[in-house]
Structure formats: structure tokens, C-alpha cells
């Protein structure tokens, strides 16, 4: 169950986070020490190699075992991780980080700024090949050097507005383990499986990994930061939510990552702590926006058609039935959960079939035989690509609701189920000319840069799944990336959201809430961005302790 996640991703940002009495991991003697925290996941880890992995659980794992320069705190501010402090040069092109002195890896070798410099330099060096997945995080970076063991200097070719957000995502790897794979063309970087036990630098060491079943961690005695209260941590993978929830209820787990909407009530009444937060996540309906698309469905470019589709989507029903109320109707591609980046003037389009029908009539698409309208001489019957991310869960329900409503206004939707990779190939086929519609989802980062970049021409065949390409949009996107004044940047970001909402390459269906649960015998499990097990912060699992 992963939304499409950019290499290093995610997470939702919660608007209000609960910081418990234990605060951020302060190892007070009043707090009970020790224990094993057993976490359940309905997803999986695909690889333990940071250059290969794509699944969210893998990124969250890296967060726990590797140092990052910075991390988020429950208030979504940047706080120290491996870097204790940092400065930005006046021209915005040089960043200096002061890293933890006398730090060690779990095998006793020194953990210094040199490891960080090596990691970033390696990503830069092979960004067109083996490290391409991570290359987004080092965009515009010129160099990364470590003049001494506790100083890291990163220079950029141009001012970059979201340096911290990018660098937060990069796990710093032990040079003494990985250097031998970075020789030659660096291809060995992607074939190295990084098996357990892993030489770790974070609060935990990865000691055991059985694919699709379990990953086990032990407290890292050499960790430079606040020592976790727990001794051991485990993450068990389940094939179905039912199995996971049954395990929670019968005491085989202490917490689960994601509670599906249909189970929230049961878990609550079984006496578990359930934490719900708006999710930095949205489900979307995609309309081919390539001006060069096949003539046989070029009417999809018609703004009246797009507006009609927008009105024909019953977002309230989707939230109520698919998400069981644990979510909000969707509007902007920058979700409200990102906080101040969301443009509040972009609101969800109300559900109005009459208006939708009216708009289609206005566009001249008359109702034809069999209740299907005719547009430019052919029936409005479209193939909608459904990747496996969307199907098999509540996505089926959402689609059913949309399909039934669209039928009422004379538009027929024919689903075509494909795996994620094949779906993306189908969308990008023939330079985005062939596909008509699709349904997918996004997990934007907190910083809006990534999500906005998806709609650029440069993101064609990379992340762009709409065929949208506009020079104006690209220019505005560049401007926001270079805007050094936060107020100015926000203004541009707001403007871009309005543009997207008017041009409608995406119809945002809903923002699903993030819901997690844990047993009441544990406390201190704060959430960052709505999740405790996430790739944004080490704080939750440093703070959790037995009651």
C-alpha cells in the first residue's frame, strides 16, 4: 500500500501533533527502560539498499538505522540529527553543517562528516546511472566536502530554496562499507543487497531481515543521539489488514502503522490508542493533458469537459463510503496537511450532476444512443488505466462511485487494470498521446517543490503522469524554486495551485487520513507528520517507552 513515492518520500504532515510528557526522547530515569516494541505493517520492504528501494517501509527503516543531517520534530520544524547546527551563506549557495563529534558506527568505526561528504558526492557522481533514484535530493548540488571530521560544506550551483528538506531524505552511509561498491561505473552500488546485520549509525541497528516477514532492530549502543528507551524493535509484515488487526487485538503486536477505515471502530473499542491525522496524501483522477494527444479523444482537452467531470465526482460519497469518513474531499494538489503551503482559496468542487450535464451540453456533446454522449463524432467511452496501487482496496469503491455517476451524465468508463510499471508505461506510451484517463495517488513531500515539479515538461517520463506540459508553468516553477523570500515563494506556490485547479490535469478526489494505533501499555509514541514509523524523524522511537 504505497502511494507513488518519490525516492525518499513522504509522509503526511499533521496539523496538530501530540508531544507527550516524555518529549523528544529525553532519557529520563523516571521512564521505564527496556522492552521490545512490535510493530505491524501491511506493506513490505522491497530492498535494504537505499539506491534501489522504493517502498515506504524501506525508507522508514533507513531513518532508524542511518544518520541524516537533519530531521523533523513533531511540530514539523527542522531539528538536528547528525548535524548539530548549520549556516547558509548570504548568496544561498553554500551550506555549512557542524556534525556530531566523536560519533561511531555500530561496528566501532568513526562516523564523521567525511561519511556525509562521501554519500552526497557518490550520489552526485553517479546521478545519471546507479544513483538516479536519489538524484532529486542533490538537484543543483555542486559539491560536498568535509574539511574536518565535524564540518560538512555543501555548495550549490544556484540558490535552492529547500535544501534542508532535500538533505533530510538522504541516509548517510558508512564509507568504509560502501566505498568498494562505488568503483568504476558504480553499478555495484545497486546490486549490493546490504544484508543484515547492517553496520548502522542511527538509534537502532538492523540485526535480522526475512523478506516479506520480519525485520528486527536492536538499540545501537554507539548512537550519537538520545538513547531510545526500548531495547529492541520489530516490524512484521502482513499480507492483509485483517491479519494485522487480528494480531494487534490478540496481543501479538504492540502497534500498527495504518489502520484501514473499516477497522478503526473495532480497534478503538478493543482499547487501543488510535491516532488520526489529516494525511499528506491524495487520490486523483487523471485526464490526459497532452495537447498532441490522439484526435480520437482530444475532446478531453476541452475545459468544459474537465469542469463537467469535476462536478460529476461525488467527493462526499467517496469520503463517506471509501474512507468511512476518515478523510476530506480533495481540492488542491498541495494538501492542507502541508500546513501553510496549502492555498485555502482552492476548495473542493461541489457534486452537481445537473451542472455537469449542462456543461457537457454546452460543449456540444449530445446524448447518443445507449445513454452515451457523442463528442466530435465518437462516443464518450473512455479507457481508464487503473494501476495496482489503486485497486484492491477502497480504490475499487471510489471507482465504482465515479463510474456510476459518470454513467448518469452519459460518459462511460472502462477500467483497465495494470501493474504500476505497466500503467506508467501505458500512460507515457507514444509520448503521452494514447492514454485517456487514469486513477492514481500521490504522497507529496511536505515541501511543495516536488509535487509541483511533477507537472513540468522536464518531468515527462520521470514522474509526470498527465502529459501536462506548459512553458509558462515551467517558468513559474523555476521562480518558486529560486525564491529566497518565504513569503514570495508562498505566493508563487499559491498561484500555481490555482493554475492547476483551473486547468485540471488532476481532479483531486480526497485526502485520506493517516490512522495508526498502539497498545495502551506503551506511551511516548509521538507522531511526526501523522505517523510514528516514518522517514521524517527518529524522535518517535527514541521517545516510546513502556508504561
Amino acid at each position: 500500500m504505497s502511494g507513488r513515492v518519490p525516492r525518499l518520500l513522504l509522509a503526511a504532515v499533521a496539523v496538530s501533533m501530540v508531544a507527550t510528557a516524555c518529549g523528544s526522547g529525553a532519557g529520563g530515569s523516571s521512564v521505564k527502560q527496556g522492552g521490545l516494541f512490535r510493530l505491524g505493517s501491511a506493506s513490505s520492504i522491497d530492498s535494504l539498499n537505499p539506491f534501489v528501494a522504493f517502498q515506504q517501509d524501506a525508507y522508514s527503516t533507513f531513518e532508524q538505522i542511518y544518520p541524516m543531517l537533519v530531521q523533523y520534530n513533531p511540530k514539523l520544524q527542522f531539528v538536528p540529527d547528525f548535524a548539530r547546527s548549520w549556516q547558509e551563506s548570504p548568496d544561498g549557495r553554500t551550506w555549512t553543517f557542524h556534525t556530531q563529534p566523536n560519533a561511531k558506527w555500530s561496528d566501532g568505526k568513526p562516523l564523521t562528516a567525511a561519511d556525509a561528504a562521501w554519500t552526497f558526492s557518490t550520489i552526485l557522481k553517479f546521478q545519471n546511472g546507479p544513483t538516479a533514484n536519489s538524484a532529486g535530493t542533490t538537484a543543483h548540488m555542486a559539491s560536498a566536502t568535509a574539511p574536518n571530521a565535524t564540518t560538512l560544506v555543501v555548495t550549490y550551483k544556484q540558490p535552492v530554496a529547500n535544501v534542508l528538506s532535500q538533505l533530510q531524505q538522504v541516509p548517510i552511509l558508512p564509507e568504509h562499507i560502501w566505498a568498494k561498491y562505488a568503483t568504476g561505473n558504480g553499478k555495484a552500488l545497486t546490486t549490493f543487497a546490504n544484508p543484515a546485520p547492517i553496520v548502522s549509525g542511527g538509534p537502532f541497528m538492523l540485526v535480522k531481515y526475512t523478506p516479506k516477514q520480519i525485520v528486527l532492530f536492536k538499540r545501537n549502543p554507539n548512537y550519537y543521539g538520545p538513547k531510545p528507551h526500548i531495547d529492541e524493535l520489530g516490524l512484521q509484515f502482513f499480507g492483509t489488514y485483517d491479519a494485522e488487526i487480528t494480531a494487534l487485538k490478540s496481543g501479538q503486536l504492540d502497534g500498527i502503522e495504518t489502520v484501514p477505515p473499516t477497522s478503526v471502530g473495532t480497534v478503538k473499542s478493543a482499547g487501543f490508542d488510535v491516532h488520526q491525522a489529516p494525511g499528506n496524501y491524495f487520490d486523483d483522477f487523471i485526464i490526459n493533458s497532452n495537447p498532441q494527444q490522439e484526435a480520437s479523444h482530444r475532446e478531453l482537452l476541452n475545459p468544459l469537459l474537465r469542469e463537467a467531470f469535476d462536478y460529476a465526482i461525488d467527493r462526499q460519497a467517496i469520503v463517506k463510503t471509501s474512507l468511512l469518513g476518515y478523510g476530506q474531499p480533495g481540492s488542491s494538489i498541495i494538501p492542507p496537511a502541508t500546513g501553510h503551503w496549502y492555498n485555502p482559496s482552492v476548495t473542493p468542487t461541489p457534486f452537481n450532476l445537473t451542472k455537469a450535464a449542462q456543461l457537457l451540453n454546452q460543449a456540444g456533446f449530445k446524448m447518443g444512443p445507449n445513454g452515451v454522449r457523442i463528442a466530435d463524432g465518437h462516443p464518450m467511452s473512455y479507457t481508464i488505466i487503473m494501476p495496482s496501487d489503486t485497486t484492491g482496496g477502497y480504490g475499487d469503491r471510489s471507482f465504482q462511485i465515479i463510474q456510476t455517476d459518470f454513467k448518469k451524465i452519459g460518459v462511460q468508463l472502462n477500467p483497465k487494470n495494470l501493474d504500476n510499471s505497466a500503467a506508467f508505461s501505458a500512460i507515457t506510451a507514444n509520448h503521452y498521446r494514447n492514454f485517456e484517463l487514469s486513477m492514481w495517488d500521490w504522497v507529496p513531500l511536505i515541501d511543495p517543490d516536488f509535487m509541483l515539479s511533477v507537472l513540468t515538461c522536464g518531468s515527462w517520463n520521470v514522474w509526470n503522469d498527465t502529459g501536462y506540459c506548459s512553458k509558462t508553468y515551467d517558468q513559474v516553477y523555476q521562480a518558486q524554486g529560486a525564491a529566497m523570500s518565504p513569503a514570495k515563494r508562498q505566493q508563487i506556490v499559491y498561484q500555481m495551485q490555482r493554475t492547476v485547479a483551473t486547468q485540471r490535469p488532476y481532479l483531486v478526489l480526497d485526502y485520506a487520513d493517516l490512522i495508526e494505533a498502539h497498545s495502551k501499555s506503551w506511551a511516548g509514541l509521538v507522531t511526526v507528520g501523522g505517523l510514528s514509523w516514518c522517514s521524517l524523524s527518529k524522535i518517535p522511537f527514541e521517545s516510546v517507552h513502556q508504561v
Binding site: T240, D242, T246, T262, S263, T321, T391, G393, R397, Q400
Partner: protein, 320 residues
């Protein structure tokens, strides 16, 4: 599994006049065996239920009419599913489509099997040998797994499910037809017809087909049971169009949307009983006919493909 010569099992004794004269046979079966009556009754019940479903269904089977996973109540006797859709209506509607799938898949299987059996039995020799070899191979390869991969590659849709079941379940039909055809081919009257100049097609149509009628019916009914069973399995694995309501997709939705940890047993239990009910009905009826046709169909009949809930039942009152 062909350790037993296929031709022997179902053949009537040499010279024995087939007692297969249309209506009289069926009435006799019904009179003699209670199980046949029960079975036929169940089948008819489900068919009728499917036909009148759109008229007597209390609520819509596609629109939400209650809370998600609402428990059984006076207004909704079997509660509602994960989409807030009334369970009773869903089961009725699902029954319709399940039956359609069952019949359609069986039709495909009958056509293929009948054709293969006819050709094999009538022409014999190398045609027979090669066709039967093919049948043997297909018999051994596990059918659900095979169907699963075909459907996974082909794509999830109702039509694909129907075809996939049909193209793997024809073997039993083929063997039965083949055996009958082979024995009947030697009958005096066929030889006489041929002597009179009747062509192959005419002989097949006029003389052989009517004799195998009841056997085909029995086989059809049993294949329908198998088809319905397989449809639920394929739907459960996610290989059927989830927007279509069948008994199989009802179970699949319940499973995917955590009905068990929710405690929504009503989304699961009645569905199973419907499926089992129909399958048992088909089984009882089909079994009864097969027994009546040849009480010596004993253990030897294991050469027929297993999926047929087919046992080997004893004689007379011991038969099931």
C-alpha cells in the same frame, strides 16, 4: 490419471438396449431417488430466485442504502457490506451473475468437450489417441493455478473468467461423450444406417446424440457446480472485475475490507451458504442421474476428473 481404460467405465453392456428414452427416464429417476428431487428443487429454486431477483430485491444492489457494515436489522435482514449495500439484495443479484457465469462457462466447456469427445469417439484411431493424450495432460496440470495465471495475464474481467473456466473444464465431458459415442458407434442400428448410406454427420446427429442426452445433462449440472466454485476462487484472488457483483466478489470485498476484524460476519457467512447450497443441489441431481444411467458406475469412475464432487456411490438405496 488414466490407470483405468477410459472406455470401459461408462459403456453399457454389449447388446444392452439403452434405456434412455427421453422424459420417461427423468421421471423415473425423480421417483426413485429422493436426492434427485431435492437437488432439482434446489437448482430450480436458485434459477427462479435469479429470475425474479430484480423484482423482489428489497433494495438496490449498487447504491448505498445503509451504513457501511450495518449489522442485520429488521430493515436489512442480513445487514450491509463494506459499501453500505444491502446484503440480501447483493446475494440475489450476485446469484444471478454467478449462475450466468456458471451456465456460460459450462456451455463453453460442453461445446469444447462435446466436440472433442464426439470427434474422438467417432473417428477413433489417431484422432482419438492424440485428443485423449491432450486431455490427459490437461487433467494433470492443476486447474485453479492454471486459471489463475491465465486470468492474471489476460486481465480481470467476467468474460475472461467464463472463458478460462470453460477451456479447462471440458475434459470430463469429453471423456463421457467419447465413451458413449464409441460404444454406440458399434450399435446395430448405426451400422444399419451407414449401410443405408447415411453420412457421418447424419449418423452423429440422429443416432448418437439422443442417446447421450441424459448423460450430458448430468455432466452439465456437475460442471455448473464446478464452474461456480471456481468462479468464487478466481474472484477471491482478485481476478474478476470488482465492479461486478457475484457471490465470489462479495467474499472478496469482505476480505479486502477487513470484515473479519470488523466483526461483520454477515458479509461472509450467508454468501458461503448460498454457494454451497447451489453446489450441493447440482451435485445431488447430477449424481442421481449418473447413477441411474449406470449403476455399475462405481469406483471405476475415478477416471472422470475430480473437481466433480463425484463419488462413487454404491447401488440402489445406498446411492447418494
Amino acid at each position: 490419471m488414466t490407470t483405468l481404460p477410459a472406455g470401459e467405465d461408462l459403456a453399457l453392456a454389449e447388446g444392452e438396449v439403452p434405456r434412455l428414452q427421453r422424459g420417461g427416464f427423468f421421471l423415473r429417476v425423480l421417483r426413485e431417488r429422493k436426492s434427485a428431487v431435492v437437488g432439482l428443487g434446489i437448482i430450480i429454486f436458485f434459477i427462479v430466485l435469479s429470475l425474479v431477483a430484480p423484482y423482489i430485491s428489497p433494495y438496490s444492489a449498487t447504491q448505498q442504502t445503509c451504513r457501511v457494515y450495518a449489522p442485520p436489522s429488521p430493515r436489512h435482514w442480513l445487514g450491509c457490506d463494506d459499501g453500505g449495500i444491502d446484503m440480501v439484495s447483493l446475494l440475489m443479484q450476485g446469484g444471478r451473475i454467478s449462475l450466468v457465469v456458471g451456465f456460460a462457462a459450462t456451455f463453453v466447456a460442453m461445446v469444447i468437450g462435446g466436440g472433442v469427445g464426439l470427434l474422438s469417439g467417432y473417428f477413433g484411431r489417431w484422432v482419438d489417441v492424440s485428443l485423449m493424450r491432450v486431455t490427459d495432460y490437461l487433467l494433470v496440470i492443476p486447474d485453479l493455478v492454471f486459471m489463475t495465471v491465465i486470468a492474471a495475464v489476460w486481465g480481470a474481467s467476467l468474460l475472461h473468467v467464463i472463458l478460462v473456466i470453460g477451456i479447462l473444464e471440458w475434459t470430463s465431458t469429453a471423456r463421457i461423450i467419447r465413451a458413449q459415442v464409441m460404444s454406440l458407434r458399434e450399435r446395430v442400428y448405426v451400422k444399419r444406417a451407414r449401410a443405408l448410406g447415411a453420412g457421418n454427420a447424419r449418423i452423429i446427429w440422429r443416432h448418437i446424440m439422443p442417446q447421450v442426452g441424459p448423460l450430458i445433462i448430468a455432466n452439465t449440472v456437475l460442471t455448473i457446480a464446478v464452474a461456480i466454485y471456481l468462479e468464487t476462487a478466481l474472484a477471491f484472488l482478485g481476478l474478476e472485475d470488482p465492479t461486478v457483483t457475484t457471490w465470489g466478489t462479495i467474499l472478496e470485498h469482505a476480505f479486502e475490507r477487513t470484515a473479519i476484524s470488523y466483526g461483520a460476519w454477515w458479509a461472509i457467512v450467508p454468501d458461503g451458504f448460498m454457494i454451497a447450497g447451489l453446489i450441493v443441489g447440482c451435485f445431488l441431481f447430477g449424481q442421481a442421474i449418473e447413477d441411474a444411467l449406470n449403476p455399475r458406475l462405481k469406483v471405476a469412475n475415478l477416471s472422470v476428473r475430480r473437481w466433480r464432487l463425484r463419488p462413487l456411490v454404491g447401488r440402489g438405496p445406498d446411492a447418494i
